[in-house]
Amino acid sequence: MKSVVSLEGIRKVYRMGEIEFEALKGVSLEINEGEMVALMGPSGSGKTTLMQIIGLLDRPSAGTYVLTGEDVTILTENERAEARNREIGFVFQAFHLLPRLSVLENVEVPLTYAGVAAPERRARALEVLEKVGLAGKEHHFPSQLSGGQKQRVAVARALTMRPAILLADEPTGNLDSKTAVDVMSLFQELNDEGTTVIIVTHEADIADYTGRIVRIRDGMLESDQPNRHRKRPVGGVA
C-alpha cells in the first residue's frame, strides 16, 4: 500500500504570551492510499490541531510530515498553498461555501487557483457536481440550498482537484441525522472508488462508517484500530 500521510513525532506548541500549551505531544501516524480513517477525540484532545497540520493549514512545531512522498514541513508558504490546492480537499462542519458565488463557481474556486483555464474548469466542476448528485443545481446560490446539499457542494469542491486526501472536519456536525447518513454514504462511495478519506469527528456513530478509528487524547495517540463493524447505510447514494 502506498503511504499518503506519514506523520513522525509531530508536536505542536501554542504560545499565548507567557503560557505555553502543548496541543500535540509527539504523534506518529501512517495513512495509506484508499483508506477511510476517523480521527476521534473529545474537544481539547488535539484532533483539530492534527487535522490542521495534516491539511497544511498549520505547521508542526517539531516532527516530520511526508505527504504523498514529499516532506511538506520544509515548504514555503506559497508551496504549502499549492500543495493544499493540489493534495487536500477540505470539507468543513459549517460548509464554508462562498455566499456570493454560485454553486458552479464555488466548485471552480480551487481550479481557478490551480490555473486551470475556464472551459476545462467548468467541465470538471460540472462533472464532480454530477458525481455528488447535484446536477442541475449549478446555478443556484448556497443560500438556496439545504444543509445536506451545501455539504455536497463542499464535497464536490473538495474533489475537483482530485486531491490525495479528502479531509473532512466534523462534516455532519451541522446536519440532521438522516442527512448525516447520506453524506457519510457519499464519503463511503468516494472511498470505494479509491479516494483516501480522513474524517475528524467526536461522534462514534460517524466514526463507525470508517474503516479505521484513530483516537487522540491529551495530544497523544490513544488507540489506532481497524473498524471491524463498519456501518453501511441501506441503499447508499445515487
Binding site: 490546492n85 464554508h96 487557483y113 475556464a118
Partner: protein, 433 residues
C-alpha cells in the same frame, strides 16, 4: 484502481502562477461583484474620489476656459501690440487699464515722434484719448467710452467695422464729427435699425455714424463693445484735455510692431525715446510706461494658472481624503471577509492571490469613482461655465491625469488593507465568526 485520481499527477508539481487561469477580466469581475454586493457602501466609499475628481476636472476646465477667454479677447484687440501709457508701475498689467485722468503725461507730440522715428519698424500707430460720455439717439441714451484716435486704430487694434467704414485721415484732418460705434452701442441706441448715416449726440454734440464694429465679446476690462471711436482731432477740439504746458495729451499710444520677434527691441527703443523726450534718466522716474501685449498675456496667464493650480491642489487634497475613505472601508471589508479569506486560503489561494483580489477591488472602486467623477466634472464645468459665460476647456491630459491619479489612489490606499488580508493566518481566519 483509483478513478478519482486517474489523471497522472506530476509530483511535486512545478509551482506556477495561480493567476494563470484567471484572466484580468475575471479578476475584475470578481472585484466588481464584491463591490455590487454592497452597493450603498460602495457608492459612499467611491463618493470621496468622485467628488475629488469632479472638482479637479471642473475647476481646471473652468480655469483654463477663462484663461482662453481672456487671451482670445486680448488678442482680438490687435496683435504684436505695444502700449505707451502714462504713469509708471503696473508693468505687465493689461493694456487699457490706465484711463484718462489728470495724470496724463503722454502728449500727441510723443506719438508723432514715435511715428516719425520708427516709421520703418512699425506696422501702425494710434494715439488714443478717451473719456466716458452720455450718448443719445432719439429717446435712447447710454454711457459710452468715447475714444479719439487715428484711422490706423482700425488695423492696430483690429477694429474693422462690420458695417459701414472707418473714418479717414481726411476726416481727422478736417475734424469731422463722424463716429464708429461699438456693437453694444448700436444694439442699445438703434435697437436693430441701421445706424449708418444716423446722427447721434455725444455730450450734446451731433456726430454722424459711419461704421459699426463687430461683437468683440466682453474682455472684462473696458469692453470694446461699448466704445465709440471718433477722429482724434475732433475729440481734442471738443472733449480733449492738455497738460500743464498746454500740449494736448492722450491716454495711450498703441504701436503695432511688424512681427513678434522684433517687438521686444521696439519696446526698448520706444522706451529710450520716451525717456529722452521726457528727460528721465532712471527707470524709477519714468512718467510713462511701455507695455508689451505679450507681457500682459503672460501675466494674465500666470494669474489664472496660479489660480487653476491652487484650485486643482485643493481638489487634489479632496481626492486624497477620498483615498483614505477607500482605505478605511477596505480595512472593514477585510475584517468582515476574514472567513472568506480563510476559505480561499484553504482551497489553495496564495497570499499573492488574496492581495491581488483586494487590491483590484479597491482599484476598481477608485477607478469607477474616477470615471464617475470625470463625467460629473465635465457636467459641473459646463454648468459653472454657463453661469459665468465661460466655455470650459478640457485638455485630454488633465482628464488622463485625474483618471490615473484615481487609480494610483486605489493602489496606494488599497495596498495596506490588501496586504493585511494576504497575511491572515488560515487557521485563525477559518475560525473567525
Amino acid at each position: 484502481m483509483n478513478p478519482a485520481r486517474d489523471v497522472p499527477q506530476t509530483h511535486p508539481a512545478k509551482p506556477r502562477s495561480s493567476l494563470a487561469g484567471m484572466n484580468p477580466l475575471q479578476v475584475v469581475s470578481i472585484a466588481w461583484r464584491a463591490i455590487l454586493g454592497n452597493p450603498l457602501r460602495s457608492i459612499l466609499t467611491a463618493l470621496g474620489v468622485i467628488i475629488g475628481v469632479a472638482a479637479v476636472i471642473a475647476l481646471t476646465g473652468v480655469g483654463q476656459g477663462s484663461t482662453a477667454n481672456i487671451t482670445r479677447s486680448l488678442e482680438s484687440l490687435g496683435t504684436n501690440l505695444l502700449t505707451v501709457s502714462s504713469g509708471s508701475g503696473f508693468r505687465g498689467g493689461p493694456p487699457g487699464l490706465v484711463r484718462g485722468g489728470p495724470g496724463q503725461t503722454i502728449t500727441l507730440k510723443d506719438a508723432q515722434a514715435i511715428q516719425t522715428q520708427f516709421a520703418s519698424q512699425i506696422a501702425g500707430l494710434a494715439p488714443v484719448a478717451q473719456g466716458g460720455q452720455q450718448v443719445k439717439f432719439g429717446a435712447n441714451n447710454m454711457n459710452a467710452t468715447i475714444i479719439g484716435t487715428w484711422p490706423a486704430y482700425a488695423s492696430v487694434r483690429n477694429a474693422q467695422p462690420e458695417k459701414g467704414s472707418f473714418f479717414t485721415e481726411a476726416d481727422n484732418q478736417g475734424r469731422k464729427r463722424v463716429a464708429v460705434i461699438g456693437y453694444q452701442v448700436a444694439q442699445d441706441l438703434f435697437e436693430g435699425t441701421d445706424p449708418i448715416g444716423q446722427k447721434i449726440r455725444i455730450a450734446g454734440i451731433s456726430f454722424t455714424v459711419v461704421g459699426v464694429l463687430p461683437d468683440k465679446g466682453n474682455s472684462g476690462f473696458a469692453s470694446p463693445n461699448s466704445q465709440i471711436l471718433i477722429p482724434l482731432s475732433t475729440y481734442q477740439q471738443r472733449l480733449g484735455r492738455s497738460n500743464n504746458r498746454g500740449e494736448p495729451t492722450v491716454s495711450q499710444v498703441y504701436v503695432q510692431g511688424l512681427d513678434k520677434n522684433s517687438l521686444k527691441d521696439l519696446q526698448n527703443a520706444i522706451t529710450d525715446l520716451m525717456a529722452t523726450r521726457h528727460k528721465k534718466t532712471s527707470p524709477d522716474d519714468y512718467d510713462f510706461n511701455v507695455q508689451n501685449q505679450a507681457d500682459a498675456l503672460a501675466s494674465v496667464n500666470q494669474v489664472t494658472q496660479t489660480l487653476t493650480l491652487f484650485l486643482g491642489g485643493v481638489a487634489g487634497i479632496s481626492l486624497l481624503v477620498g483615498g483614505i475613505g477607500i482605505m478605511n472601508i477596505m480595512l472593514v471589508s477585510v475584517t468582515e471577509r476574514t472567513r472568506e479569506i480563510g476559505i480561499r486560503k484553504a482551497l489553495g489561494a496564495k497570499p499573492r492571490d488574496i492581495l491581488t483580489q483586494f487590491l483590484v477591488e479597491s482599484v476598481v472602486l477608485s477607478v469607477g469613482g474616477g470615471v464617475l467623477g470625470i463625467l460629473a466634472g465635465l457636467g459641473l464645468a459646463r454648468g459653472v461655465g454657463n453661469l459665468l459665460s465661460i466655455t470650459p476647456v478640457f485638455s485630454p491630459s488633465s482628464i488622463l491625469v485625474a483618471f490615473l491619479f484615481s487609480a494610483v489612489v486605489g493602489i496606494f490606499f488599497g495596498f495596506y488593507p490588501a496586504s493585511r488580508a494576504a497575511r491572515l493566518d488560515p487557521v485563525e481566519s477559518l475560525r473567525y465568526e
